[in-house]
Subunit: 357 residues, 2 copies
Amino acid sequence: MFDGLKIYGSGDYLEGVTDRDALFICAVATTETSKIPGITGAGASPELTEYTPAADVELIVHDAPRCLPEIPQTIVEGEAAPTPAVITKVALELAEVPFLVADAGASVKPDVPYININSESGGDIRTGRAVSDPERIYERGLMVGRTLSCLTEHLVVGESTPAGTTTALGVLTALGYDADFRVSASMPHNPHDLKREVVMAGLSNAGIEKGDCRREPFRAVEAVGDPMIPAVAGICMGSTVPVTLAGGTQMTAVCALMKAIDPEFDFSDTAIATTIFVAEDSTSDINRIADQIGDIDIYAVDPDFGAASHRGLHEYLSGSVKEGVGAGGAMLLALLHGVPVEMVRERIEELCNTILA
Amino acid sequence: MFDGLKIYGSGDYLEGVTDRDALFICAVATTETSKIPGITGAGASPELTEYTPAADVELIVHDAPRCLPEIPQTIVEGEAAPTPAVITKVALELAEVPFLVADAGASVKPDVPYININSESGGDIRTGRAVSDPERIYERGLMVGRTLSCLTEHLVVGESTPAGTTTALGVLTALGYDADFRVSASMPHNPHDLKREVVMAGLSNAGIEKGDCRREPFRAVEAVGDPMIPAVAGICMGSTVPVTLAGGTQMTAVCALMKAIDPEFDFSDTAIATTIFVAEDSTSDINRIADQIGDIDIYAVDPDFGAASHRGLHEYLSGSVKEGVGAGGAMLLALLHGVPVEMVRERIEELCNTILA
C-alpha cells in the first residue's frame, strides 16, 4: 500500500486514517527505574535519563533542547545515534500534523506548553511501589482522550519514557503475559536478564506472582509499571476516533492494560505503529506479545537508513535506539499524508547535519 | 441576527464563526491582588478567591468543585449569585463545543487535565512587581494558539482571574488608556476608588507613569498586570483562526497588550464576547475602553435572567457577578450553533436547582 511500510495484521485499520486530519500527542514520563545502570541507552548516563523526555520534546518544538546543552544521543559503541525525536520532528513537519506534549509524569518538565495529566514521576520498580494512584492517571487520560478526539479524526500517541520496556515487561508479566525475552531495548545488546531480575524483584516486593493482577490491572501498574502506561491507555480508551499507539513493545503493555480494564475492548480502532528496527529486531518480538492480547494491527515503517550518509543513523541498523518519541507513528503519518519515506529520510539527514556535530 | 444578542460594531466578524467548529479554552490565574479586602466578589472571602478558578473549571468538567466543598457564589447582599461557570457549562454542553483548561498561573491547580502555559501565580500589584517574565508567558501562549488553531475553525478564550478588572486597569493605565471608572466589577457597587488606589500604588512603586509602557508593553504586565493577560494575548496572536475573547473589561487589557506588542495588529479576526450585564453596566464602560484601542467588535448576550425562577440568577440583574469563565462567549457559541437563548436560560435554571441548595 505504501513504500517502506510493513503490515502485520489485516491492514484494515489504515482505511480509516488515510488522508484524515490527525493530531500527534507525545506522553512524557520518567521513573527511578531508568537510573539502574545498564538498563537503558536513552541518555548519556543513568542520571541524565531524567532529562531525555524533556530534551526530546524541546528539540521538536524549539529545534534544540533547553534543559540540556546537547541533543540526546545513544552511544553504546562506535558512532552516537541521534535521538528518535529527530525522526518524529521531521516526519510531523512534512505531514503537517500538529504536535502536543502531555506530561504523564516527567521529573524534568519540558520548557514547552504541555497538557498536565499527571505531575509525579515513577519510582524504582524493584521496590514494588512504582506509580501512585494509576487509576487517577488513567481517568485523567480518559478526559484528555475524550476532549482531543473532538478536535481531530485520528489521534497518534507517542511516548518518551526511558527504561519503558522494563516497566512494560513488569506490567505484562503481572497481567499474565509471556513477555520475557520479548521486550525491545534501546541498545544493540538487549539486557533481558537485568530486566527480568528487576521485574522479579518488584513483583516479589509487591507480593505479586505472574498473572495475579488480571482482575486488578491498576495494581500491576502501581507495583511494577510507569505513569505513561495508564495515561496513554486512558487517552486511547477515551477517544472517539481511531488511535495509533506510536511506539514499540511498550505499547503492548498499554494494550494489555486496556484489555484488562475492559475485557470486551475492541481493538479494531486501535493499532500500533513502530519502526522496522523494532518489528524486525532479533532480540525482541512485538508480534508474539501483541498476539496474546488481541487482534491488533502493527505497522512498521522502514526509513531505509542504510541509504543515509549520516553515520549516526547507521547505528539504528545495528540496533541502537530503534524507536521512541513516536518515531514510527510519525513516519506513518507522513506516509498517510502522501509524503514518501525517501523524503522523510533525506530531511532527517539534513536535520542531523545541521544540529549534530 | 440572533435573539438575545446585542452587537457593538460592524458585526462582520460573526460571519466567519457562525456554524463553524469551535474550541473553548478557559485560562485560569490568580494573584495576591485578589486578597485585598473589598476588591472582588469572586469568592466567599478574600482568601478563598484563590480557589475560585480551580473550582469553576472543576464544576464544568466534573459537575461539582473538588478543591472546595461548595459551588462558588457571590454574596454581597440578599441572595447568593451562582458562579458564571454554570452559564459556561450549560452553554458549551448545548453548543457541543469541547472545553479545555489552560493554566496561566493559578495558585490552586484544578483537578482536571489542563494545558500548562505558566505555573506561577501573580503577586500583589501594589508592590509594582506583579508577574514574573510575562514575555515568556506570552511566547508560550503563542505556541498554544498556533497549535490549537490547527485543530478548530474558531477559538473562544475565556478566563477566571479574581480581581482581574483591577489588574486590567493597571495594564490599561500603564499603556496610556483612559480606563479609570470604566472597568467592570463582580459586585453591584464597583469599588473604583480602591482599584485606582491599588493601581496607583503599584505604578508608583514600579516607577511608571500613565502611558510609560507604550513601547515596553511587557513592563506594564510585569508591574501591575496578571498572568492571564499575556497568556491570552499570546493564544490570540498565535492563532490562525478567528479568536473570540470571552470576557468583560479584562479582555480590553488583552487587546491593549496585543496592540502594544504589534501596533499593526488587525482586529478583524478578533472580537470580544460578553454578557449584557457587562455591556449595559452603568458602573463601567467596555465600549469606551475598546474604542481607544481599535476597531473591535463586541458581542453581548442577554440570557434574560429576569424570566428565570431561580432567585440567585436575579442577582445578576442587580449587578452581582456579571461575567466570568467566558460566560458571554459560551452563550454566543450556543447561539452560533443554533441553540436559542431561552433554552440556555432554562438549562441554567435546571442546573442551579440541581446543584445549588
